[in-house]
Symmetry: C2
Subunit: 182 residues, 2 copies
DNA sequence: CGTCGCATGTAAACAGTTACATGATTCG
DNA sequence: CGAATCATGTAACTGTTTACATGCGACG
């Protein structure tokens, strides 16, 4: 089983394919679009942009802005685009399987006096909040004036979140019922 | 947001709470029970067992077995048990959000000519295989002669896998339908 | 004047896998 | 005899977060 390899490269190339961006801007865009199934930190973004430039997958222009620090805006190159396309056509690596909630539940009988219900309750509440956020996102996307061609795919990723979160809520309901009656 | 901290400690303590084990044995047990939501590698197990012993959470006995290398069997101590109990009562850290399949789907429109259907098809097949494994596990557990007290909780973790995988299959069905008719 | 937002970047620490070294026994 | 299984352990590498350093402008 291949371990999850470095995908920050491809994630950044993907967002640069939308247009030139600064490191700071990329972080904003990531947080505002895919935060639900992807995250990146500055500690990865800035070094990776440097690497991308060294490898000819992106170029940068430094500008002295009237206010604040000089900004470095990165653009994807043709080679960057083709690297992105190669990655997109490739099978994704299986996700890491590490779920602490389930591990705790698995060992729940090993600690007398502790009731895992609170944990499951908190999990359920979080999933409901997630579903609310998804509903908002859905409304926003569906009411957009001119939907971009990517939108169809964005909706599919949103749908994933919805169906998964719904299943998680159903599971939590079952668990709480089961634990309550024992 | 707290990043996923080191939980190998607690996982090993959990399995040691079932009885004394070697590093090698722990790996086997983990693979045969929770592999579905937890994994550990030798590269973490052996150093961590050493650490647990140094901190007084486990003790070890080295034995010269008639055949093969000397084996080191670890046992959990009272302090180890109480550390386990503390962890069990604590809220779990939220899981890392990194899903490469969704990221690829999100950018699918950025590569002309590539069809993400194959990826989703492969995902679907894997989930169906997962469901089959779960069904087998369920049969085995339900036909056990004398179910241990932990069994109730094991079933809950199994149920999580079932409901999630079912939701994933439904999602894949929707996606394939959507992509096929466009 | 404080703090928020824009903006870049590094260093240290942590988490985790993979590959390797070592070696005996058992089973086909 | 070769492969699988039992068994321990390390080293190198990769991936990732967090905290910090730096600094300007705008807004209240």
């Amino acid at each position: 089983m291949a371990r999850t390899p470095n995908r920050t490269r491809q994630a950044l190339l993907g967002f640069l394919s939308w247009g030139p961006q600064t490191g700071y801007g990329l972080r904003k865009v990531i947080d505002g679009s895919v935060s639900n199934f992807w995250t990146e930190s500055y500690g990865r973004i800035y070094p990776m942009l440097k690497e991308l430039e060294e490898e000819g997958l992106a170029t940068s222009i430094e500008r002295q802005t009237p206010g604040g620090r000089p900004t470095k805006t990165y653009s994807i190159t043709d080679r960057g685009r083709s690297e992105l396309a190669v990655w997109l056509a490739d099978e994704p690596a299986p996700p890491a399987r590490r779920n602490e909630l389930l591990l705790k539940l698995f060992f729940a009988a090993r600690a007398e006096g502790t009731d895992p219900s609170n944990m499951v309750e908190a999990f359920r509440a979080e999933k409901l909040a997630e579903l609310e956020r998804y509903a908002e996102t859905r409304d926003e996307l569906e009411s957009a004036a001119s939907p971009p061609p990517d939108m169809k795919y964005w909706m599919l990723t949103l749908r994933y979140g919805e169906l998964e979160a719904e299943a998680h809520v159903r599971w939590a309901d079952e668990v709480l019922k089961e634990l309550g009656t024992s």
